[in-house]
Amino acid sequence: MTVSLPTDTLAACQRCDTLVNLPDISNHQKALCPCCNTVLHSPKKHTLDKTLAISFAGLLLLIPATVMPLMGIYAAGQYNQASLLTCIVLLANEGFYFIAFCVFIFAIAVPAVRLFTAFYLTFCLKYASKKPHLIVFFRSYHLLNNWAMIHVFFLGIIVSLYKLVDIADIAIGTGITSIILLLMCSTMLSITLDHRFIWQQLEQNND
């Protein structure tokens, strides 16, 4: 069924479907769509090493970010603190299953799957044998790309800190630091990951 086409150098813009013959560009350069200026391809230097390091760091940070307390509150001699995980447990206990589910998916599950996918992919491409199921992993990465909301959650924490500072004494926990670092990792992940390169690697393995 394979029809010989110069598909390796061809690219179509996702936004306007313009067919482009991709030029040979070096690192730090970008190929833009002539029609709508969408970035078609931007090769990255040492993409495998960088992605491997960053995604591993992100995976490690995921644990303190969920388990460690985000902030604590002192009022009238009482103290209470909450972590991301206790947020979800509390919501589920109060019967708000839908919101608990949303928070779990958008703030924990999607970032975790993205980081794990990036880590597993780059690890296998670099050290282990290439397996066909890696394609499924990378496909899921693309599917989940728009659903990670850890940055919004972080802004949510900042806003509620600002709200609570007036009312009571607030203690900032290690959870916030971990979330900031996790946020940096997941942002850098999208900068260092060279999709086109990885897809080509996966394809070569498949043939």
């Binding site: 306007c16 985000l70 902030m71 209470n80």
Partner: protein
């Protein structure tokens, strides 16, 4: 003339961006085995349906309270707008501004923007295509930020949990709000921006 992938009988896989020869309307990508169409089928209908859904959900999201505050036996429920009003009264203008943008301007702007784009796929417009494409890019990317208020309420509710002294509970409005945000995300996701350009290419062809 034959600039687009579609007019060359090719299709770009939405997952891995591989160019495939379209043997039928539905094609399996030769690289990642993902089934795709050269244009999302019934894209406009799906977008409209999700947009109307989010518009409908916008009403209960603003009528029902987002959170309930219990302090020393007093109970006080506040909706999004009441929350913003409280911030303005207490002089927290930047926070009031951020919440207002995230939970009011962004969802409404998204809904209006999507209606506008769906209309412009069908009808001629004065707005340049680059602008329209740019508008869609914005609509697509600001979506998650409207989830902000839900997260604020969630964090507040779990931190302020001091029994009789002070206790914040999540309320029904937050569920509707989260549903509304998901509906707007789905709406933007189901819109196929290539339709905007197709329309223009057809016009060019008929002019020639």
């Amino acid at each position: 003339m034959t600039r687009t992938a579609l007019s060359n009988g090719l299709g770009c896989c939405p997952r891995c961006q591989k160019i495939n020869k379209m043997q039928s309307e539905k094609q399996q990508c030769s690289r990642c085995a993902h089934w795709f169409y050269s244009r999302k089928p019934n894209s406009l209908q799906h977008t409209l349906a999700w947009t109307v859904t989010s518009l409908v959900l916008f009403i209960p999201a603003n009528i029902y309270p987002m959170m309930t505050l219990h302090t020393f036996g007093k109970t006080e429920a506040s909706t999004i707008l009441q929350g913003i009003a409280t911030f303005i009264q207490t002089g927290h203008y930047p926070i009031a501004f951020i919440i207002f943008i995230a939970s009011f301007i962004i969802p409404l702007g998204k809904i209006i923007g999507l209606f506008f784009l769906v209309y412009h796929v069908k009808h001629r417009s004065n707005m340049s295509l680059k602008r329209q494409s740019h508008l869609f890019h914005i609509v697509e990317n600001i979506g998650p930020w409207s989830m902000l208020d839900v997260f604020v309420v969630v964090v507040m509710a779990s931190v302020v949990n001091l029994g009789f002294i002070s206790n914040i509970e999540v309320s029904l409005g937050a569920s509707y709000f989260a549903l509304m945000v998901i509906a707007t995300l789905m709406a933007a996701h189901s819109f196929d921006s290539r339709l905007l350009w197709d329309n223009n290419n057809n016009k060019e062809q008929t002019h020639e």
